[in-house]
Amino acid sequence: MKNILIIGATSAIAEAVARKLAARGDRFYLLARNSERLAAIAADLAVRGAGDVEMSTFDAHDAESHAAALEKAHMWLGTIESALIAYGTLGDQKESERNAEIALNEMQTNAISTISLLTRLANIMASQGHGTIAVISSVAGDRGRASNYVYGSAKAAVTAFCEGLRARLHKKGVHVLTVKPGIVDTPMTEGVDVPEILKAEPDTVARDIVRAMDRKQDTIYTPWYWKYIMIGIVHLPESVFKKITL
């Protein structure tokens, strides 16, 4: 029985992870913006066997609220055995290109706010001396692509941040897991036009995340084949890469 903190609890992947952990009788503190959906998820987890579920509305964009939100969560849970950061937006690349404000807003959501939360959370967990922080980054962070580099660069920042954090926290007994999903079939990717076979189910990704958390893996690609796809993409010479439409 563990104490789990989930930020972005209404996201499809987070919900799928929570359902798996609920079956173990874990206790949950859930943070998300939409209280109606949070309530439905909390009730669902309870029926599935969760020890106890508490929820609170939270908007990652509101930087002032981060300290208090995490404080409340920590108090309610007692200790935080696992924390999952699972919120994000895909954004509109074209809009971000046209308008710097919009681009910055995307960076705020996907990188800056995450860094703020991770900084605070890292300190809480470091003083605990144990625990796992799992962060959902993306394969998009492995290389900037013309079609989604605003999202991609935010995720690249998160990936590098987590790498450093992993090394720092290792000495404190805290583990950091970087999750890099490919394209997952969720409301976020609703408009993304990609062959069905490339869209993974949230449940599959959740299974990989839970396994990686249990085994204290460092970085995972989910589904597994994205690791190999990205090796290919990352190693294409820039002179070639800049010419192709990806």
Binding site: E36, V47, P187
Partner: protein, 436 residues
């Protein structure tokens, strides 16, 4: 996007929305004032029952709401699958009161089809174990209905193929079990008469179904393997860790010619030696042998297939089933998935399929000589006072439907009363003349 039912026939282009909350669902109903809407669960109906130009999928309305461990009543959103329910509740000692041949249907879908299972002769249909439903016939109308409250809407929605409104949540009474295993007995029946009689002999058994060799002719016509089962009184409550064998590509339809099907059937039939065989199997093997082959519908190739399921009433006697089976066998278009079952008493749901008698379900690969054969079969079924199962139907005529489901007019009145008649439709309801 391209959408179709389990038989991959027909295939249409449709707009599909998948609301995550009731508020979003309401928004869709409000925005689509003039549009026909079609509810969609997991798409396991075979034909066009869940097809329409504007479909509303319940896949994100998939939360469990509450469970009462004293009464066994589970309240859940309509998009929760029966598979999900089993995953959570079998380890806790609870089972579905009625389950169809696949667990990949939603609770809403199970209600809309008023599904039946191997225990119909004793325990009836799914909706007979539903305590209440929440239905949304219109954006501003959310009705909790049951056998005691808004009973008319309840009896229309149960088996109502989604045509009375969006089923939003379902409360089902689960049944207590002591083990995840089933004590199964398999008996050989040498012909149809023996098959049908065996159902009477085994009437006290909770679960019974027969797999029929639809290619056997003459004195072997209707030979079958009857499988009966009871929940084991003791044993572990594990859920199965069944791997799924996927069918990644569509099989060429030539593979399913009479010769290869014949070989399959003979092999399947002769694998049981002696007259009966008893063993203990996990519930997933007893109830869902086809689910093991994920996407088994691909075996029929790109042209898709038609599943034909009909029932003939007890009053028509064994001759009814014999005559229809002879016609099917004589055509040589047999499938290797023919299932025979004895039905118990029907219920009061207006469009519910089962009535006391026998039902046969089989597949046909689509080829052009098929449709005239099915028309002939329809005529025979009607003659004997029987009917076809709407959930499997892809081509029945409006006239056949109206003759065999006499309560259709009462159904329409209720649909009209709740304002659902011109809002919730499907390709099937158009075809059957329910949207005029």
């Amino acid at each position: 996007m391209k959408m179709h039912g389990w038989g991959k026939y027909p295939v249409i282009d449709a707009e599909v929305s998948a609301p995550s909350t009731l508020a979003q669902l309401r928004g869709i109903l409000q925005a689509g004032e003039d549009r026909d809407l079609t509810p969609r669960g997991l798409g396991r109906s075979y034909g066009d029952s869940s097809l329409g130009e504007h479909m509303i999928s319940t896949r994100r309305l998939n939360h469990l709401i509450s469970f009462d461990s004293d009464s066994g009543v589970l309240h859940c959103e309509a998009g929760v699958s029966l598979s999900d329910i089993l995953e959570v509740f079998v380890p806790l000692g609870w089972f579905l009161p009625v389950t169809p041949g696949t667990r990949f249907v939603t609770a809403g879908g199970a209600v809309a089809s008023d599904v039946h299972g191997k225990n119909h002769h004793l325990e009836g249909c799914f909706c007979e174990h539903v305590v209440f439903l929440d239905v949304m016939p219109d954006a501003d109308l959310l009705v909790r209905c049951s056998a005691d409250d808004h009973a008319a809407l309840f009896h229309a929605t149960c088996g109502g193929m989604g045509l009375t409104g969006m089923i939003v949540s379902v409360a089902i009474r689960l049944k207590k079990i002591r083990s995840a295993f089933i004590d199964e007995v398999i008996c050989k029946a040498r012909n149809l008469e023996e098959s049908l009689n065996l159902f009477s002999v085994h009437a006290p058994d909770t679960y019974s179904v027969a797999w029929v060799d639809c290619l056997a002719k003459g004195s072997s016509l209707g030979r079958s393997l009857l499988m009966t089962g009871e929940h084991a009184r003791n044993g572990p409550l594990e859920r199965s860790m069944q791997g799924m064998l996927g069918m990644p590509v569509d099989m060429p339809s030539l593979f399913l010619n009479p010769l290869s099907v014949r070989v399959f059937n003979t092999l399947y039939y002769h694998c049981i030696r002696g007259n009966s065989l008893g063993r203990r199997v996990h519930y997933s093997r007893f109830f869902y042998p086809l689910d093991r082959l994920a996407d088994w519908n691909r075996i029929y190739g790109k042209s898709g297939f038609i599943q034909y399921q009909f029932m003939v009433p007890e009053s028509a006697g064994h001759e009814a089933m014999a005559a229809i089976m002879k016609t099917i066998v004589a055509s040589g278009k047999g499938s290797f998935l023919a299932v025979l079952k004895a039905f118990g008493e029907g219920n009061g749901n207006l469009l519910s399929f089962p009535r006391r008698g026998f039902t046969l379900a089989l597949d046909f690969r689509i080829e052009h000589a098929l449709f005239p054969l099915l028309e002939r079969l329809d005529a025979m079924v009607l003659d004997y006072g029987g009917r076809l199962y709407l959930t499997k139907d892809a081509r029945m005529s409006g006239s056949t439907f109206r003759q065999s489901y006499p309560l259709w007019e009462a159904f329409q009145k209720i649909r009209e009363a709740f304002g659902a008649r011109r809002r919730f439709t499907s390709l099937q309801s158009h075809r059957l003349g329910l949207d005029e």
